[in-house]
């Protein structure tokens, strides 16, 4: 990734904002934590962030009203975060223009996937991912070089895309599992192992040997 996406964290609980920052930085994002709640709207607009994680329950203006204010000036993607488990808040947030809504306590991996999804949607062209000289078409499950096509199953494509998004860094089995389950593929540990080894052999048959490396006890890495 050449440029880093910037995410604004609007959250009044210091432990959470600190840990969120840690999580997001590890995932390769630039972050900024909102400091001045009295002037939140201006600080958010000025920060030129690419996405806002907005807690509903914050001092001064509450999250929903703040979102309404932001929407008057900017179309920046917003994920609402709340500890209130309640459909009304969700409906309200979405109607005020939130792009997504997640309740605390959330699974951090899923939060990252949701953020990724929003960025993917923003890029419009979903089908312009590349791996080395391969073009990746996630929707059709195809990897393509100049002359040939490699067909992947849905699960293999989810795994490959996840590794590709984190190219060069280790992806844990748990992360892959969460991604698969998040895509409604409720596979078990054995099936994951089978899927990865099948993906690996498909890639190596296609001329990309050792594309996926196993890091013992840690996970996998796409090189």
């Amino acid at each position: 990734m050449i440029f880093m996406r910037k995410i604004m964290i609007v959250e009044d609980e210091p432990t959470i904002s600190r840990e969120l920052q840690h999580l997001l930085v590890n995932a390769g994002y630039e972050t900024q934590i909102l400091e001045d709640f009295a002037n939140s709207k201006q600080e958010i607009i000025d920060s030129k962030s690419d996405l806002i994680l907005l807690d509903i329950n914050i001092p001064e203006l509450n999250g929903e009203l703040l979102l309404k204010e932001i929407r008057k000036e900017s179309n920046i993607p917003v994920i609402m975060v709340t500890s209130r488990v309640n459909e009304i808040d969700e409906v309200l947030s979405i109607s005020y223009g939130a792009d997504d809504y997640i309740t605390k306590p959330y699974n951090p991996t899923i939060l990252l996937l949701r953020i990724q999804n929003i960025f993917k949607r923003m890029e419009h062209k979903i089908d312009n991912l590349r791996y080395r000289d391969l073009e990746v078409f996630p929707g059709r499950g195809i990897l393509k070089n100049n002359s040939e096509e490699l067909q992947l199953t849905k699960n293999e494509m989810i795994i490959f895309q996840n590794l590709l998004n984190n190219i060069g860094s280790i992806v844990t089995r748990d992360d892959l599992m969460t991604d698969l389950w998040n895509n409604k593929e409720y596979i078990n540990d054995n099936a994951l192992t089978v899927n990865i080894s099948r993906l690996r052999s498909k890639l190596s048959d296609f001329g990309y040997e050792d594309a996926i490396e196993t890091r013992k006890g840690q996970g996998y890495i796409l090189l």
Binding site: E13, T15, I16, E19, L20, H22, L23, N26, N57, S83, R84, V85, N86, E87, I88, E90, V91, K104, P105, Y106, N107, P108, T109, I110, M177, T178, W181, N182, K184, Y186, N188, D189
Partner: protein
């Protein structure tokens, strides 16, 4: 009001009037009054008495009949005063006033209770909201420091969260009137959220999670349904048979008048004698006592929530074979108005 009973009730007056008439008759006789005058007096006397009797009966009958019929017809009997007209006789007015005062004081009593329950409910909701923040921090901390904190920490945090949800929905199911929003909800989305919540438990227990929902959607509150499903799936995980082929299968079938969501497992099942009681409050049954500790609240709350949402929940089970829970969503056009 029955005429015969009314007459019996008035028998004392009738007897007294009879006696006084008899005395008058004697007096008239002793003064040697002309026969035709006696007859005239008798006619006037009897006519007047009859008229008085009838007028009284009609007035009272009108009021009491209305009161009694309305009380019988009404579902909420305390509202009867709103449905009857003010009586036109003194005793009736007294009764009406007394009933009115009684009602008012009862209403105040009820309102006081209601507001104290409302306060309690609000406090619990707020407390839950507060306690979710440290739980959220813990989840993030566990995730960010995997090297030092292994999965068992996260598992405990998840358990905490589940118990807290139980209290939240217990309060909602008991005290909240209209705390939900019914809208069209994809079953797949709800199941997916529950699956993700229980992913680690399911994988660790080596339970295959099989889902086939065919894009079916139902009218429900997705958060509530999520909680209900979570309770059922938690039970399936808790009461699994520790074999290699454990599974939980979730599928839905669409009928003309309803959609049914099935949650089946091949766990240890529920003894027949316990089956009819699993939705009762604090019922733990044999499984809850012998295998793992159980609070007996999960299914009770799930059942209550289902009833509020207008769904039906049914359970079938055979020991050592498995359990099947059905959630039945009626296809009622009533909810479609806001689409």
């Amino acid at each position: 009001m029955k005429l015969s009973k009314y007459i019996i009730d008035k028998s004392l007056s009738i007897i007294l009037i009879g006696i006084s008439y008899f005395i008058i008759l004697m007096l008239l006789n002793s003064f040697k009054i002309h026969k035709s005058l006696t007859v005239a007096i008798t006619i006037v006397f009897v006519l007047m008495l009859l008229l008085l009797f009838i007028i009284n009966f009609v007035r009272k009958n009108k009021f009491y009949n209305e009161l009694i019929t309305n009380v019988n017809l009404l579902d909420k009997k305390y509202l009867v005063l709103e449905t009857i007209t003010n009586p036109s006789f003194y005793e009736g007015e007294l009764l009406y006033q007394a009933l009115y005062d009684i009602n008012k004081s009862m209403a105040e009593c009820v309102r006081e209770r209601e507001s104290s329950i409302e306060d309690f409910k609000e406090y619990v909701e707020m407390w839950i909201h507060e306690v979710k923040i440290p739980i959220s921090s813990l989840t993030l901390l566990c995730h960010n420091h995997k090297e030092i904190l292994d999965k068992s920490y996260l598992e405990q945090v998840r358990k905490l969260d589940n118990y807290i949800d139980q209290i939240l929905y217990y309060v909602r199911s008991n005290y909240a009137e209209e705390d939900f929003i019914i809208k069209e909800t994809l079953l797949e989305k709800v199941v997916s959220n529950v699956a993700l919540k229980n992913k680690d438990d399911l994988l660790e227990s080596k339970i295959d999670f099989i889902v086939d929902l065919k894009d079916l959607s139902v009218y429900t509150d997705s958060k509530w349904l999520e909680f209900i499903l979570n309770q059922i799936i938690n039970n399936s995980i808790k009461y699994r048979r520790k074999t290699d082929d454990s599974f939980i299968k979730i599928y839905a079938l669409d009928y003309s008048d309803k959609t049914v969501l099935y949650i089946c497992d091949n766990g240890i099942g529920i003894p027949q004698k316990d089956l009819s009681q699993v939705f009762k409050k604090s019922f733990t049954g044999e499984n809850g006592r012998t295998n793992t500790k159980s609070t007996g609240m999960g299914l009770y709350i799930a059942d209550k929530l289902c009833k509020k949402l207008g769904h039906n929940i049914e359970i079938e089970s055979e020991e050592e074979i498995g359990t099947e829970v059905k959630i039945i969503f009626g296809k009622n056009n009533f909810y479609r108005m806001n689409v």
